[in-house]
């Protein structure tokens, strides 16, 4: 899809929302078209795409038919658009898709597949623990997955940097290693009571 088609689709949805036809929240993506069009050039139709509440453009660019998507939105499912045929999964839990996507990527690797997994999330999601764990694990096992952070500086209306504090240097950790001389628990001797 070209940029103007994406814009027209969302303008149409915005109009329907404003007319009260859609009875659920919708999250539109104006301003994100150019970056997404570029990213989706690298994503094959058989690849998995994991998205979030702001998912319309991701779905369209991954090949989900516009009329099917519009029907889903009209049936009040905008915030969790899911389409198995196009391997498109979304969830409205912040960073919720991340570990699910890791599992799909692990399965693909174990099964010897060549498809890849792409996960879209916002900048606040990228500060969560589960995002860190998902990325850490994926790197540790060299999984076929890419996490794409779409940074608009906000979560709802809360500025990400302000709410996290923007003076982050990573210097609050003191780290050392040692070899444990006992088992995980107990002394290594079985006791009979």
């Amino acid at each position: 899809m070209i940029k103007q088609e994406l814009i027209s689709f969302e303008d149409d949805i915005a109009l329907l929302f404003n007319e009260g036809v859609i009875h659920s929240p919708v999250h539109l993506s104006k301003g994100n078209e150019d970056a997404l069009i570029k990213i989706f050039v690298e994503i094959k139709p058989t690849d998995w795409v994991f998205s979030n509440h702001r998912n319309h453009l991701h779905a369209l660019l991954h090949g989900v038919p516009a009329d099917w998507l519009k029907k889903e939105i009209l049936e009040n499912r905008s915030i969790h658009i899911n389409n198995a045929e196009h391997r498109f999964f979304s969830s409205a839990i912040v960073a919720g898709c991340c570990p699910i996507a890791v599992g799909v990527a692990l399965a693909i690797k174990k099964q010897g597949g060549t498809d890849k997994v792409f996960v879209f999330c916002g900048d606040m999601a990228a500060h969560t623990g589960i995002f860190y764990e998902s990325v850490r694990y994926s790197e540790g096992f060299d999984l076929p997955i890419t996490f794409i952070v779409e940074d608009n500086g906000l979560s709802v209306n809360s500025p990400t940097d302000e709410t996290w504090g923007d003076d982050y240097h990573g210097d609050k950790i003191s780290y050392y290693d040692y070899k444990l001389g006992w088992p995980h628990s107990g002394s290594g001797k079985w006791l009979k009571f």
Binding site: F89, S91, G96, P99, I100, G103, A105, A107, I130
Partner: protein, 177 residues
């Protein structure tokens, strides 16, 4: 002479039964390495059906959903039910409501296996031995929760979970091991 069933031997037998299905993957902490009652019960399972996880319960539950989306039947193991609380986001917000969330587009079937810690002979403290069965029964809308209270229930419970189209949460009791 009738065979005397013991809880632990029945659990071990059930794990071996599950492993006969090539789609089954045992995933969790202490499935490959010793450290809990879990490891003994999956000793007979081949190494390529076991996937050791770091301590990352939400990651594990989410990954289990992802593995299921790709055709595996994860037996996702949490050595203590207290620790399963850390996976609640994925369990409650995704797996339990997946059919409604995806409008039937995606289906993920798995067996969640966990254990209520024993209070004797060593008392492990309040964070390691609570019976949270009712908590999970109340929280989960769709996933059935089964607590195995005697050896005779072990095989039927796991057989039912494997045959079912839906996911199941099975709770064992370490005191009966």
């Amino acid at each position: 002479m009738a065979e005397i069933l013991t809880y632990k031997s029945e659990i071990t037998k059930a794990m071996n039964m599950l492993a006969q299905n090539p789609k089954v993957l045992f995933i969790g902490q202490t499935v490959k390495y010793p450290g809990s009652v879990i490891s003994d019960t999956v000793e007979g399972v081949s190494e390529n059906q076991k996937w050791e996880m770091p301590v990352a319960e939400e990651l594990q539950m989410g990954m289990s959903i992802g593995l299921a989306l790709q055709g595996y039947i994860p037996v996702t193991i949490f050595p203590r039910i207290d620790f399963l609380l850390l996976a609640m986001n994925q369990l409650s917000n995704h797996l339990d409501v997946l059919d409604e969330l995806t409008h039937g587009e995606f289906h993920a079937k798995m067996i969640i296996r966990t254990i209520i810690g024993a209070r004797t002979p060593l008392y492990p403290g309040i964070q390691h031995c609570r019976d949270l069965t009712v908590t999970f029964q109340k929280l989960l809308w769709n996933i059935p929760v089964a607590k195995i209270t005697e050896a005779e229930q072990v095989m039927p419970t796991y057989e039912r979970a494997l045959k079912a189209e839906y996911s199941s949460l099975i709770i064992e009791m370490a005191e009966l091991y």
